[in-house]
Amino acid sequence: MTYTFGLDTFGDRNSDANGSPLTHADTIRNVVEEGVFAEQSGVNFFGIGEHHTDYFPMPAGDVALAAIAARTERIRLGSAVTVLSSDDPVRVFQRYSTLNAISGGRAEVILGRGSSIESFPLFGYDLADYEELFEEKATLFAELLKGGPVTWEGKTRPPLFGQDIVPHTEGGPFPAWIGVGGNPQSVIRAARLGFSLALAIIGGPPARFAAYSQLFQRALERFGRPPLPVLVHSPGHVATTDDQAKAEFWPRWRDIIALVAPERGFAIPTRESFDRETGPDGALYVGSPETVAQKIAANLTALGASRFDLKYGLPGMTHDQLMANIGLYGHQVVPRVRELLT
């Protein structure tokens, strides 16, 4: 199996060394530097997740990806995720096919139904419709990816009759994934529509997702499709030692989860739950390069996945901490995982 390794950010708002928050603009400029440095460190993919909050000021990640594209040559660039339910599939396709043109064919997109939901009220969508919105829009997006004139009719956007959508992509469709957080019916949908599967694992033992990976491949067979890759997206932080990584990550993790818990239904982390999640059976990849590499290798194997994307950084961390994380991930973690997997 060919393995690839990515880094994802939500544009987590940086702080300076004294703990004062940087501006949104500084944070976005830092993300561009981080994307460029990810390529220099040997990372294969850089993803930006759509968010609309003061602590994740990153609603237009595709613009930042275009800036990174202009300064890089090899690294693949994509969303992680695009909240498709509250966007127009035609616009999403146009933005990412434009990115694909700028980057010389390096664009990807991961589509999400809406785990972060602040975009729904912002753009006038009803959260109660999120399933219907995503089903329709993902179906249309699959049509758009094929290229050529599109005819489509539904309830969530105006119909299209033999419509040519530009810009056309070179060399066929760009890679497109559906992000899934634990709903098996979403796994079936990805297979039915022919998207690759992105498993977002942010709590609990990752191995329990092995059944989802099998479900995906079996469903692809049933729908008469060839096998498609599975990726794992999980949060984490790499520093020189386990203790340093935990010391840098834990207070920021506690703060951000406490902040989003009322809306997302997360339990507020305790030091005990954090230590469990950063242990071998947890979902957080926090530690030294060796610790994190061992965990990635074990879970890629257990889950039958060929790509791992580390969601690095948290609101309140410094740009220097993130750059150190990126350097260690690219130069030490990724080569070590490759070694462990051969």
């Binding site: 109660a128 634990g182 709903n183 709590g203 609990g204 479900l215 239904g265």
Partner: protein, 215 residues
């Protein structure tokens, strides 16, 4: 009312399969159904909920003594109350506007009371709603285990409370009985035990005062 032996789990999203797996492990007979053709969840059942039977909702409910509602709350109004008539119904749903949007019929407080009113021919018990689906299985422990956690059970019918308390214990949690469905509001989103993993003593302490004020 006897303890459940045969379950119909309605809903195959995030929550339904997790409850179904726990129940199968505890030795219950489990059928799982969505609003549609069971063929649509055959693969899911085989790989994610081995041991469960995918069935049409009508058939699953007809053969069950207990029905677990694990569907999105805004779909509840599509469910025919006659289907559930005479059954013990576990309401594992939540009204959570911040996460799922506003549902007009549930704007009044007490989502399980609203469910119970609509399901007048059934006996409604509020349970299994306040532990996250991603934690429900990992936290389950046998009775007597030192790190066993607690889970709330609320109903207006004491025999129904007792029956589901027995089931909760089989599934892996120390049941905490609340005196009425109204008192079960303490288990809702925003309440002191929602999304928090607590031992029996911690749970009882957290709900005692608030539940009493609702009784």
């Amino acid at each position: 009312m006897r303890e459940p032996t045969t379950l119909a789990v309605l809903g195959a999203g995030h929550v339904g399969p997790v409850i179904a797996r726990l129940a199968i492990k505890a030795g219950y007979q489990v059928a799982i159904a969505t609003s549609g053709d069971p063929a649509g969840i055959e693969l899911i059942t085989e790989l994610v909920i081995p041991g469960a039977q995918p069935r049409w909702a009508t058939d699953a409910v007809a053969d069950a003594d207990t029905v677990v509602l694990a569907i999105p709350l805004h779909r509840f109004s599509d469910l025919d109350p006659n289907l559930l008539s005479g059954k013990l119904v576990v309401d594992a749903m939540n009204y959570w506007p911040a996460s799922d949007g506003v549902v007009k019929a549930f704007e009044e407080n007490g989502s399980s009371e609203i469910v119970a009113r609509r399901l007048a021919g059934s006996t409604t018990v509020k349970a299994l709603n306040h532990i996250g689906y991603h934690e429900l299985e990992d936290r389950a422990r046998r009775a007597g285990a030192q790190d066993r956690r607690a889970a709330g059970v609320a109903a207006d019918d004491p025999a129904a409370t007792e029956a589901i308390a027995g089931m909760i214990s089989q599934l892996g949690y120390d049941p905490v009985r609340l005196e009425t469905l109204r008192a079960g509001r303490v288990l809702q989103p925003g309440g002191p035990v929602f999304g928090v993993s607590l031992t029996l003593a911690e749970f009882e302490r957290a709900v005692r005062d608030e539940a009493r004020s609702l009784t």
